[in-house]
C-alpha cells in the first residue's frame, strides 16, 4: 500500500522549513531535541567549548574503537545535521555572540545547571524582553526550581530518583538499574512534544513560551501506572528479572553462540494457543496437552522448569532460527539484537533506519534516522555532526553578518575556542 497523500509530484517542503534553532545544550537529553528539529528542516546552530570538551565526545562507541573527540558515534547521533560553533561562554564577547544568535533564532535549547544562564544575563526573562515570541527549552535533571534543582547530575541520577534503578534486576540480587542514563532517553521525547506544541501555538498566536523539562519528572511520567498503584492501595512496584505480570513463560533464553559471542532470544507466551504452539515446536506434545499448563498461573507455577526445557531447545539453535520458527506459529519471539546485528536487521533495513553520511575525518559515519516516518515531509539527517569549530565562519559571517575584522578579533581574542 502506498502511504502517500500527495495529489501530484510537487516539490517537497520541510516540516520545519525556516525554523532557526540555537542549541546551547550538551551530552544527550538536550542535543537529541535539536537533532530531531534539524532532521525536519530546521537550521540548528550548536554551541560548544573546544576547551571544556563536551562529555558526549568522550563517550563510546568510537570510530575504529579509538577514543577521540572527533570519533564518538554517540555525539554523532545526537548532533547530526547541526552547524557547530565553538565559543568561550564565560567571556563577555562570547556572551554577546550568544545574544546575537538569540536575535537570529526562533528557538533556544539549553541544559546548563539551573541559574547559570541568569548569571550570564542569558536567561529567558532577560532574552524575551527583546524577543517576546522566543520559544526556549531548558532541560535539567530535576527542573529549574524546587529543593532538588541544585542537584548535579547526569541521567543515572535521574533514573535513580525517578524509580527506574529499583525496577531492573532479579528479585534476589542487587538492583541492576537501567542500561545507561535512562531518563536521557525519556526527557527529550517529552520535551520535543511540548516544544512542537509551543511552536504550533506560536504559529497561531505569535506568543512565545518557556519550557522547563526535568528528566526526573519525565522518567516518573513513564511510571505513571506504578505511582498511581502506590497511591491506590500502597503497592510498591518491584523488579522481577525478565518475568511478566501476564505472559508466562516470558524470558530471555540462550541461543547458539556466534563466533564465540553469546547470543540470546526472547520468547513470551500470552495465551494457551501460543503455549501449545511453543510446546509442540520444542517437541513436547505432553506439555502442550497438560491441563495444569492451560493458564498463565499454571505455567507460572512451574516457570523455572519450563524455562529449562525451553532453554535446552533454544541453546542448540541460532537466535534468528528460533525467532523465525516461532513467529511462523504466531508466538512472540525475537533475537536479542546486538550492535553486530543492527546494521543488517531486516526490518530496520527496510525502514532505512541506519543512515550513512559522509564524514570529513572517517570517510563515512552512521547515525540513526528519524523515529517518525512522515510520508509527505520526511525527515533525514542532512550531514554528519560538526567537528569542533567546523562552522565558526559560516555562523558568524553568513548567519550573523559579522565582518572579517570582527571575526578576526574574536579569533585572536581566544573567544572561538
Amino acid at each position: 500500500m502506498n502511504l502517500t497523500n500527495a495529489s501530484s509530484a510537487e516539490p517537497r517542503v520541510d516540516a520545519l522549513a525556516g525554523l532557526k534553532v540555537l542549541d546551547l545544550s550538551w551530552v544527550v537529553a538536550g542535543p537529541l531535541v535539536g537533532r530531531a528539529l534539524a532532521d525536519f528542516g530546521a537550521e540548528v546552530v550548536r554551541i560548544e567549548s573546544s576547551v571544556r570538551v563536551e562529555t558526549a565526545r568522550l563517550m563510546q562507541p568510537f570510530h575504529g574503537g579509538r577514543q577521540d573527540k572527533e570519533g564518538s558515534a554517540l555525539f554523532g547521533n545526537c548532533n547530526a545535521g547541526k552547524l557547530g560553533l565553538t565559543l568561550d561562554l564565560k567571556s563577555a564577547e562570547g556572551q554577546q555572540v550568544v545574544r546575537d544568535l538569540v536575535g537570529w533564532a526562533d528557538v533556544v535549547v539549553e541544559s546548563f545547571s539551573p541559574g547559570q544562564l541568569r548569571k550570564w544575563g542569558l536567561d529567558y526573562e532577560t532574552l524575551r524582553a527583546d524577543k517576546p515570541d522566543l520559544v526556549m527549552l531548558s532541560t535539567s535533571i530535576a527542573g529549574q526550581d524546587g529543593p532538588w534543582s541544585k542537584l548535579a547530575g547526569f541521567g543515572n541520577v535521574g533514573s535513580s530518583l525517578s524509580g527506574f534503578q529499583h525496577l531492573v534486576g532479579y528479585q534476589d540480587r542487587l538492583p541492576m538499574g537501567t542500561f545507561g542514563p535512562y531518563t536521557d532517553y525519556v526527557g527529550p521525547r517529552l520535551a520535543l512534544v511540548t516544544l512542537l506544541a509551543a511552536l504550533e501555538n506560536r504559529r497561531r498566536t505569535g506568543e512565545g513560551a518557556y519550557i522547563d523539562v526535568a528528566q526526573v519528572e519525565a522518567g516518573i511520567f513513564f511510571l505513571s501506572p506504578q505511582v498511581a498503584h502506590y497511591g491506590f492501595d500502597g503497592t510498591i512496584a518491584e523488579r522481577h528479572g525478565n518475568r511478566d505480570a501476564q505472559a508466562a513463560p516470558h524470558g530471555v533464553f540462550p541461543a547458539r553462540s556466534v563466533e564465540g559471542a553469546e547470543r540470546f532470544v526472547v520468547i513470551s507466551v500470552r495465551d494457551r494457543a501460543e503455549w501449545q504452539a511453543l510446546a509442540r515446536a520444542i517437541g513436547r506434545e505432553d506439555l502442550a496437552e497438560r491441563d495444569d499448563l492451560a493458564t498463565a498461573d499454571g505455567r507460572r507455577a512451574m516457570e523455572d522448569e519450563l524455562e529449562q526445557v525451553i532453554s535446552a531447545w533454544t541453546a542448540e539453535r541460532s537466535a534468528t532460527a528460533v525467532e523465525e520458527a516461532l513467529q511462523l506459529l504466531g508466538v512472540p519471539a525475537h533475537a536479542a539484537v546486538t550492535s553486530d546485528d543492527y546494521p543488517h536487521e531486516p526490518q530496520l533495513a527496510h525502514r532505512g533506519h541506519l543512515v550513512e553520511l559522509p564524514h570529513p575525518t572517517h570517510g563515512r559515519t552512521f547515525v540513526e534516522g528519524p523515529r517518525y516516518r512522515l510520508s509527505e515531509t520526511p525527515g533525514a539527517p542532512r550531514r554528519a555532526a560538526p567537528a569542533l569549530g567546523q562552522d565558526n565562519e559560516v555562523v558568524l559571517r553568513d548567519l550573523l553578518g559579522y565582518d572579517e575584522a570582527r571575526i578576526d578579533a574574536l579569533r585572536e581574542g581566544g573567544i572561538l575556542r
Binding site: L3, N5, A15, L16, T55, L58, P61, G65, A73, N77, F154, N156, L161, S162, G163, F164, V168, G169, P175, M176, G177, F179, G180, Y185, V186, T194, L196, A197, R203, R204, A209, E217, I220, F221, P225, A228, Y230, G231, F232, T235, I236, E238, R239, A247, V252, V266, Q327, A336, V337, T338, S339, D340, Y342, Q347, H353, E368, Y372, R373, L374, E376
Partner: protein
C-alpha cells in the same frame, strides 16, 4: 496550546500514551473503545479489575464506544475520522483496513488529517506482521542485548517501556505533521515503529559495529592489563553495576566513583564529606580523583589502594539514610543518589513543590489518587497537565456526536 485540535484515538495499550500527551497539551482527544472496553483496560498493573495503566494513560480523554461488528457504528467512526485533525491508531493493520479506517480511506474523505500509526515494527516490511510484546520489541530494538548482570542473560526493565517511547515519538511526529500542514495544506501519514524508536535508548551502542568499534564495553579501571580506555563519564555508563550500587541504612544508593578531568571533582567532594566525619584518613582523603586514572596507569597508585577507598565509602554509606545522601548530594555536589521506589516518589517534597501531581478519581478508590500530572512546566501559554480521569466506556458518545458531527 493544542485546544484547536481534534484527535480521534484508535489505540489499544500500545499507543494509549500518545493521546494522553496531546490531551495534556489541550487537544480534544476522543478515545474509541469496542463495546466490551479497550484491551488497554486489562493492561497491568492491575488492582483487582482496575488497570492503573489505563487509568493513567487514558486520563483526560473523552470516550466513545463502537460496535465494530455493526456497519452503522463503524460508519460513525469513519465520520469522526472525517472531521479529526489527527487520527492515531495502534490497532492491527488488518483490522483498520477491514473497518475502512486505514490511512488511504481516511485521507480519501479527509485529506487534511494527520494519520499517526504506532506499531511494534512499522506499517510495512518483513516483520510488520510479527506477534509482539514489550519484550519482543525491547529485544528487536537494541536495548536488551547489552544489558547484562554478570553472566546472566540480558535484562529488561520490569515495567514495560517500549511502547511508551513509541507513543511519545508518535505525538512528536503527529505535531511535526500538524506544523507541516500549515505549509503544505494537507495531512500525511506518520509511521512510528517501536523497534526503531528505542535504538536511542542504548546510548548509541546500536551504532558500535557500524562505526567499527568492536569493544564498546569499556575497560572500567584504568591500568588493568586488557584495556586502556577509561570510563570518564559522570554517570559511569560503562562501569559494571556491582561497582555502582551501595547499601545504606534504609535502602540503596547509586554512586559511581567518577575519575578523570571531567568528573573526578565530584568524587573529591564525596571524600571531603567522608573525611569530615572521620570515615577516611590520609592519604586517601586527599587524593585528587581528577588525576587518579593517570596515577593508576603510572603505578603511583595501586588497585589495592583503590579497593581501600571503596571500602571506606561502603562503611560510611551504611550509616546514612537515603534522605541524608540526597541532601548531601545537593549541598556538596556529589554524583551520589538514593535509589527511590514508588513510596519515596509519592513523598518527595521536590515534586510537591513543583506541583507535579494531579489528583484524579479512580474506580473503587475512596479518595482521588495523585498521578503524574505535568510532564513539562511552561511559562506563557498554558502548559501540559492531566485534564481529569480516564473515561468510562461510551461515556461521551452523545456529546461527541453533537460537538463533532453536529447531531442533536
Amino acid at each position: 496550546m493544542l485546544e484547536h485540535l481534534r484527535v480521534l484515538d484508535l489505540t489499544d495499550e500500545r499507543g494509549l500514551l500518545c493521546g494522553r500527551l496531546l490531551a495534556d497539551l489541550g487537544a480534544d482527544v476522543v478515545q474509541v473503545e469496542p463495546l466490551g472496553g479497550s484491551p488497554g483496560r486489562q493492561a497491568p498493573p492491575l488492582a483487582g479489575d482496575v488497570s492503573l495503566y489505563w487509568e493513567t494513560f487514558a486520563a483526560g480523554k473523552r470516550g466513545v464506544s463502537a460496535d465494530l461488528a455493526d456497519e452503522s457504528s463503524v460508519a460513525r467512526l469513519r465520520a469522526l475520522a472525517g472531521v479529526a485533525d489527527i487520527v492515531i491508531t495502534s490497532w492491527p493493520r488488518a483490522q483498520v483496513e477491514a473497518l475502512g479506517l486505514d490511512p488511504v480511506a481516511v485521507h480519501a474523505e479527509n485529506p487534511e488529517a494527520v494519520y499517526t500509526i504506532i506499531s511494534a515494527f512499522g506499517w510495512d516490511g518483513p516483520k510488520a506482521e510479527y506477534a509482539d510484546t514489550d519484550l519482543v520489541v525491547w529485544a528487536a530494538g537494541g536495548p536488551l542485548a547489552p544489558h547484562r548482570d554478570g553472566d546472566l542473560p540480558p535484562l529488561r526493565i520490569s515495567v514495560p517501556q517500549a511502547y511508551l517511547h513509541a507513543a511519545s515519538d508518535a505525538a512528536a511526529g503527529a505535531l511535526l505533521a500538524v506544523l507541516a500542514r500549515a505549509q503544505v495544506g494537507r495531512g500525511q501519514v506518520v509511521d512510528v515503529s517501536a523497534q526503531a524508536s528505542i535504538g536511542v535508548a542504548t546510548l548509541a551502542r546500536v551504532l558500535a559495529t557500524a562505526v567499527g568499534d568492536d569493544h564498546p564495553e569499556w575497560q572500567t579501571t584504568p591500568g588493568r592489563p586488557s584495556g586502556g580506555r577509561t570510563d570518564q563519564s559522570g554517570s559511569g555508563a560503562a562501569t559494571p553495576n556491582s561497582l555502582k550500587k551501595w547499601h545504606c541504612r534504609d535502602g540503596m544508593v547509586e554512586l559511581h566513583l567518577s575519575m578523570g578531568p571531567a568528573a573526578g571533582a565530584f568524587t573529591n567532594n564525596l571524600f571531603a564529606w567522608i573525611a569530615e566525619e572521620g570515615g577516611v584518613g590520609e592519604p586517601i582523603s586527599s587524593w585528587d580523583w581528577r588525576v587518579v586514572p593517570d596515577k593508576l596507569v603510572s603505578g603511583e597508585l595501586s588497585h589495592d589502594q583503590l579497593d581501600e577507598a571503596r571500602a571506606a565509602v561502603r562503611a560510611f554509606l551504611l550509616g546514612k539514610t537515603k534522605a541524608e545522601v540526597l541532601e548531601a548530594a545537593i549541598r556538596r555536589r556529589l554524583l551520589c543518589m538514593a535509589i527511590f521506589d514508588m513510596s519515596d516518589l509519592a513523598q518527595s517534597p521536590h515534586l510537591a513543590h513543583r506541583d507535579f501531581w494531579v489528583d484524579v478519581d479512580l474506580p473503587g478508590a475512596r479518595e482521588p489518587v495523585a498521578i503524574p500530572g505535568r510532564f513539562a512546566q511552561v511559562l506563557g501559554p498554558e502548559g501540559p497537565r492531566a485534564r481529569g480521569r480516564a473515561p468510562m466506556v461510551g461515556e461521551h458518545d452523545d456529546i461527541v456526536a453533537k460537538e463533532w458531527l453536529g447531531e442533536q
